[in-house]
């Protein structure tokens, strides 16, 4: 399920780099805290390498195997019912995102979402609170707030349209774009 969800992740840095393949592999098997930490380290490494390579790299081959390093980091973070506190899994994934963002220049958009239960306007506020919790975490990790945009969609853009707990837990999320 995790891998499937990662397919919705969106790139935040676009740099041509071979090393990213390694990150891709690691992220694909990431399933625990330790692994996530490894991801974070790898992502930081990859991003640093990307910086170094990007300046002079215009050879055709590197373009051909261009892989989006950040695309393979978790970019969807999940929340409990009526809660906006980050889970440990979300924190680990955000550490990796923060590392990539610190070394990049692109802006990031955080879209907050809620499940369908309860009122729509309260859910808009809840989605915003969740997205802000992610923004705060990224800021603590050294990402400039001026690069972070927060938008809440409340319950208006569900991932799953069903009305059960598994659908709700997929819909209570923040997407990093």
């Amino acid at each position: 399920m995790k891998n499937k969800l990662m397919s919705v992740s969106t790139s935040i840095i676009k740099k041509s780099v071979f090393l990213a393949i390694v990150v891709s592999f690691l992220a694909a098997c990431a399933s625990n805290q330790q692994q996530a930490d490894a991801d974070a380290a790898a992502a930081a490494e990859a991003a640093a390498a990307a910086e170094a390579v990007a300046s002079g790299a215009d050879d055709a081959e590197s373009v051909e195997v261009s892989i989006d390093a950040a695309a393979n980091l978790d970019s969807v973070f999940y929340f409990e019912y009526d809660q906006s506190s980050l889970t440990s899994a979300a924190r680990a994934a955000l550490d990796a995102q923060a590392a990539a963002l610190r070394s990049g220049v692109s802006d990031v958009r955080l879209e907050g979402h809620a499940d369908e239960r309860g009122s729509r306007e309260y859910n808009l506020a809840l989605g915003e609170r969740r997205a802000k919790a992610v923004a705060d975490y990224l800021a603590i990790q050294g990402v400039s707030r001026s690069r972070i945009e927060v938008v809440s969609y409340g319950e208006e853009r569900p991932v799953s349209l069903r009305s059960d707990e598994s659908a709700y837990s997929l819909n209570r999320r923040v997407e990093l774009k």
Partner: protein
């Protein structure tokens, strides 16, 4: 990616007069002993008209749940004037009241003369006439329903009113099409007044029924718009960083209460519509949202989780004094006041889910009105006797209505889309 890149608003927002599938009414609960009324097909002469007005009246009254209309094939005769009425026949059919009428039309106008009788007392209760442009037969019929309903129940009818709601359709590529729909209160004559590929929510009527406010994400973030119903002319009122949500018109129509998070987290504000001057009402690190006016325009009720869970609070706009209003249950939200300001309806969660509930302010007495589990967006009828709300039925978003006494219920599903966010017009 992100901030300064223009996020494509796919599919421009556009006004449309396109007709859209009407909602269909399914009455699910009636009062125990509905009043029996016979509505005889109206005799017509002159230019052709589109609608069977007697059938519209019969459907209106049946939808109120308080009346049962005699089927036409059970009628012995079809009187259209008082001297053609044989009360004994109608009494034999068990009918309490009888409505007859005659219509005439030119290509431009339609007129209807109608008369309501008390069958038992053999007495005329209403003798009146109503006219409108040819093509407005439904409007004529709703006026007749209003006058019959008022005469027989003592409560002003709400059949001539309209509603707004949001419909959402997913196409095959799983892209959404959002429409803001304006329809008669019976779901007929539905037309889209706004279409967008981005969410539309929180439609709210001005008290004179001429303008609406709503939230649209068409710029890839929420903004509050105001729109003139008759012309479609509109303007963006707010576009602050963060939330721009939950617009609610003041009873005098000059102010809009709303929720903005531009100063950090969701707070209530009141905007003077003419000058766009904003006054901040709440200062609290919790979520404050869903403002709704008390009828005197001096206070708001709103939803806040400042106590840990969403509950309803009331704030006095003059001195800022704020008091908690709800204590029963762990989730109360989206309150709106009854016209007398003494009670309100809201979303209330109990162990079986999210329902629409009524609460008296002075006593805290709470009555749950609905029995489905994902009920939201209550909107009161102008006469306060019914409310519209949104729920899910068989996996689809549908509108539903319930009488405040809980006795009458009906659903208004759409044949082709998910519908939500009903707002009953004030007149």
């Amino acid at each position: 990616m992100g901030f300064f890149r223009t996020l494509a608003v796919i599919g421009a927002v556009l006004f449309s007069q396109l007709s859209t599938a009407d909602l269909v009414i399914e009455v699910t609960d009636w009062v125990k002993d509905p009043t029996k009324i016979a509505i005889v097909p109206f005799r017509h002469k002159g230019a052709a008209i589109d609608q069977d007005m007697a059938a519209v009246v019969a459907a209106d009254l049946a939808r109120s749940g308080q009346f049962e209309a005699l089927p036409r094939d059970a009628m012995y005769s079809s009187p259209s004037a008082a001297d053609e009425v044989h009360f004994r026949d109608w009494r034999a059919l068990g009918v309490d009241y009888l409505l007859i009428g005659r219509s005439s039309a030119t290509k431009k106008r339609v007129n209807l003369e109608y008369e309501l009788f008390d069958v038992h007392r053999q007495k005329s209760l209403i003798k009146s006439r109503v006219g409108n442009l040819n093509g407005q037969e439904r409007a004529i019929a709703h006026k007749v329903s209003d006058s019959v309903y008022q005469k027989l129940t003592g409560i002003a009818g709400a059949f001539s009113t309209r509603m707004l709601y949001v419909s959402v359709q997913n196409n095959q590529a799983n892209q959404q099409l959002y429409r803001l729909i304006l329809a008669d209160a019976d779901g007929a004559r539905a037309r889209a007044i706004l279409k967008s590929s981005e969410p539309i929510l929180s439609p709210s009527w001005s008290p004179d029924g001429k303008q609406i406010a709503y939230v649209s994400f068409e710029s890839s973030r929420p903004a509050i718009y105001r729109q003139v119903v008759a012309t479609g002319e509109r303007e963006k009122l707010t576009n602050f960083r963060g939330l721009n949500s939950a617009p609610s018109w003041s009873p005098d129509g000059k102010r809009l209460a709303m929720v903005l998070s531009k100063d950090g987290n969701p707070e209530l504000y009141v905007m003077e519509v003419a000058t766009r001057k904003l006054k901040r009402i709440t200062r609290n690190s919790a979520i404050d949202t869903e403002p709704s006016w008390l009828p005197d325009g001096k206070s708001l009720v709103f939803t806040s989780d400042r106590g840990g869970r969403p509950q309803i609070y009331r704030v006095n706009l003059l001195d800022g004094v704020t008091k908690r209003v709800t204590y029963v249950g762990a989730y109360n939200a989206k309150a709106s006041l009854m016209a007398d300001g003494k009670s309100m309806v809201m979303i209330h969660r109990d162990e079986s889910g999210y329902h629409i509930a009524w609460q008296e302010l002075a006593t805290g007495r709470l009555i749950i009105l609905t029995d489905s589990s994902l009920d939201e967006s209550p909107s009161l009828s102008p006469n306060g006797s019914m409310l519209l709300y949104a729920t899910k039925h068989q996996g689809r978003g549908v509108l539903a209505a319930v009488s405040l006494d809980g006795g009458v219920k009906f659903r208004l599903p759409s044949p082709s889309s998910d519908v939500r966010e009903p707002a009953w017009s004030p007149n």
